[in-house]
Symmetry: C2
Subunit: 219 residues, 2 copies
């Protein structure tokens, strides 16, 4: 008698991620998975990005948190549609959670879907959500050694943001070392340095995002 084995959870996740991806493509939605440590500034990035793009694009947000709806409440104040996922202890979002959240959106009325993952620089790297673009938000107070110490998530990323550069003068952080280490981990990685508090550098990220959207629309 054959013993049934439930294989690789990651494979199951991949299949669901492919379904999400096909749905995004069909509906013409650019989906972005925003990952990073707790407190790196993921929600602030979403708020800045929404502010910069809400007149041009129809934006939806999925907020992933272990507990609370704090971040979703902040997002709601911008007027965009937001759905909160509470993972209830789980350390990352997965494709199935996204699939369940998507039923709350009117997908045909969306251009851009920003997904904020659980604050975690490790686990989210392994679970695709069907997104077109993975962004890792790093921040100056975390230190410039994070790419080398947590390489997998940066390797998986399409774009790395260094947030809180308004603190560069107050803290020891070598942006050149940070950038160099990132490019060793992933050649050609897009890297933007910015501050969601002062808005310094923000426009480069916004322009890049617009370019990704154009590329998607033009096919």
């Amino acid at each position: 008698m054959e013993i049934k084995v439930v294989s690789n959870v990651l494979r199951t996740n991949d299949l669901l991620a492919e379904e999400n991806s096909a749905l995004f493509e069909k509906e013409g939605i650019l989906a972005i998975n925003v990952m990073g440590s707790p407190g790196a500034g993921k929600t602030s990035l979403l708020l800045c990005t929404i502010e910069a793009l809400k007149n041009d694009l129809r934006i939806g947000v999925i907020e992933g948190d272990i507990a609370t709806t704090y971040d979703a409440e902040l997002i709601r104040e911008t007027g965009v549609e937001v759905v909160q996922i509470n993972t209830d202890g789980a350390c990352h979002l997965d494709a199935h959670m996204i699939k369940r959240a998507l039923v709350y959106f009117n997908l045909s009325a969306l251009d851009l879907l920003l997904i904020e993952n659980v604050g975690n620089l490790v686990c989210p790297a392994s679970f695709g959500l069907g997104e077109a673009i993975k962004v890792v938000v790093s921040s100056v107070p975390e230190g410039d050694d994070k790419p080398k110490k947590y390489p997998a998530i940066f390797k998986a990323a399409d774009c790395a943001l260094l947030n809180k550069i308004d603190l560069l003068e107050a803290l020891e952080f070598n942006p050149a070392r940070f950038r160099e280490d990132l490019l060793k981990i992933k050649e050609g990685l897009e890297i933007f340095e910015l501050s969601c508090r002062s808005n310094e550098g923000l426009s480069f990220w916004i322009d890049w995002l617009k370019k990704q959207r154009c590329a998607q629309v033009l096919g």
Copy 2:
């Protein structure tokens, strides 16, 4: 035919953690599991703590990282014994990794074992290592909402440290809110505010640690 099920990995971890704990007790070692987000200042805390205690206690360190030996190299400069665990992608230390690391120490020549977990505010909460004390290092730049957003790890902790208080003036952070939220999650939790950069507040943590060591020795 009965299908064999490999049950609950957490239970397996618990059994190994109990073995580690018994060994620590037999050898009279106070083991501390230091957890926190990437960049919260766990290594800096270890360096400050070693500096403050190395004349009184014989200290060993286990450094947990996904990759690199950077932190272990910093610790080694203090002259204490250090063993690096590279988890090779795994998001937390577990009791089996600790068991394997312990063979590299002369345990009868140790009073205090400081274990730095992988930077992660979620997963390490679920995996006991056999430690006597769990410490969570939080830091001002992460924001004062972290206890509410990542409650499990604070609930599991015996002591919470708020690091980088030298940045309180530069950043928006409400220490009273932070403390209040922590005590709602875990009544009676020990909380110390400090800066490993300026050494402000450090002595309260050191005194508390000495007290824990005395309590252990007095049984």
